[in-house]
Symmetry: C2
Subunit: 318 residues, 2 copies
Amino acid sequence: MAVYTHLGAEDLAQLVAQYDVGELVSFKGIAEGVSNSNWLVETTQGRFVLTMYERRIETADLPFFLGLLDHLSAAGCPVPRTIHDRAGDAWRMVGDKAVALIEFLPGLSPSHPSAAQAHAVGSALARMHGAAGDFPTQRENRLAPPDALAILQDCGEAALAAIDPQLPAILDTGAEIVAAWPNDLPQSVIHSDLFPDNVLMLGDRVTGMIDFYFACNGAMAYDLAVTHAAWCFDETGRNCDRNLGHALVEGYESVRPLEDRERAALPLLAEGACLRFIASRAQDWLETPADALVRRKDPMEFMRRLEFYRANGQGAFA
Amino acid sequence: MAVYTHLGAEDLAQLVAQYDVGELVSFKGIAEGVSNSNWLVETTQGRFVLTMYERRIETADLPFFLGLLDHLSAAGCPVPRTIHDRAGDAWRMVGDKAVALIEFLPGLSPSHPSAAQAHAVGSALARMHGAAGDFPTQRENRLAPPDALAILQDCGEAALAAIDPQLPAILDTGAEIVAAWPNDLPQSVIHSDLFPDNVLMLGDRVTGMIDFYFACNGAMAYDLAVTHAAWCFDETGRNCDRNLGHALVEGYESVRPLEDRERAALPLLAEGACLRFIASRAQDWLETPADALVRRKDPMEFMRRLEFYRANGQGAFA
């Protein structure tokens, strides 16, 4: 939640002049994005988000991320278009950093989603999976269960125990998840990080799915399981709202019915989703000083979700 | 540059419903403001900035700050209006914090102002001084030279020397400024912090003067001197752009000619302006850990300006 790079008005006006979007009227650094800087940019022709890629995301991945936005948007998905510059390029360099100008979409991210909102998000996710099926560029999931387990093993048992005495159990549980992981489920491009923060809504309508920077090729049912883990619990992970979960899956299936083997795999896929967030949160926790301004996210919030999925199996989705 | 408080979409929608501004469509935390949180809020009827007062500014001062915006805006100054809620109040409480909804103004803050822009800012400042003359509420300047000197004395010579070996000289210089300070110059409400960051422009036109949270009663010529120190130097304070300074004063005088005693006092007033920024920067420097994410502003940038004004006297404005 920060703007890492200073961009002056004159710099930005010059940059915007490289696009056919009218003249710069206003811009504000916005407190979004963890690994990039974002500005809300207004021109005489419209509003846009300018993203500067500060780290983590390598320029090599931009054809995938930005091309995907265009592909999904052209297919009618509520996804912001990439604005191409006068030379047709989807991104430009400002100094040594890549920047992209992206369509601004209205909408609000629900903090306390309703079942109707979860239903709409399920439908939007299924439509996205359908539309992404013929996207030609590939990107592998770098946070699949074996990757997540490796991150946790690198953290080490002692460091994990220092975060929470219950946390090291994830090493054994993670190995079980990896061993049982299905690799033959129907694939598409998946968002893989569709938290409420990454969805814009007006009432019960999805007006935007954003922040595709973890998108990759993967099992569609896994993406649904990620979304279930992200939407259907209170923040602590202690309480699952089964009505919300039911509405989410129902919304998904109203567009794309799950195959039996996908439905059977959902609890395990949800465990894998939790493993991924436990790993990234544990890593961030250990890399972030306790007194940093950034709030560290507690990996235990996903340990509790994982326990819920293990304890309830298919019942978690009933 | 941060958003200190989390406000969810539902909280904000509820808050916005207390105003006659239509329905909430979008909001983004913006990276502006040091002692408050700000959101750019869009409704079906327009755009607004929601400010949450986090610290420093006491609720007791809000009638002054928010009333001043309304007073100046009604007089045709490019200043954002305060939006009053359905009960007519200029601010509301959210938990234990005051919030105000303020008109959004377009425009860009110049990083490298031109002489034409400095001229326009001078004129806008003079018009503001004229319009504020009959504003009935009072607020004293809490960073007048005696206050600034007291802050520096509280820092202590050793701590100042640790920032820069040249800095402790400000204690003697500051005492001289306090002793010579004129208290009988023509008064109005002054902005007293009109850095380029606090001005919005489209081309050479001032579309907004913002961030009045240091506004107070004071000498109008002092405000012009603050603006000179804020606009007419490079960031280091080593180089004064006299063309810019000349345009600024000329713009001011095109609306409100200075009295002879004001013009005579300008160099001393500018020294007092520097003293004020040296004091607040030294204090912030000593209170901010060296490894904090917030960039500390170097008080020496204003020591150099102060030296320029002392060395050049009236020549600084010629």
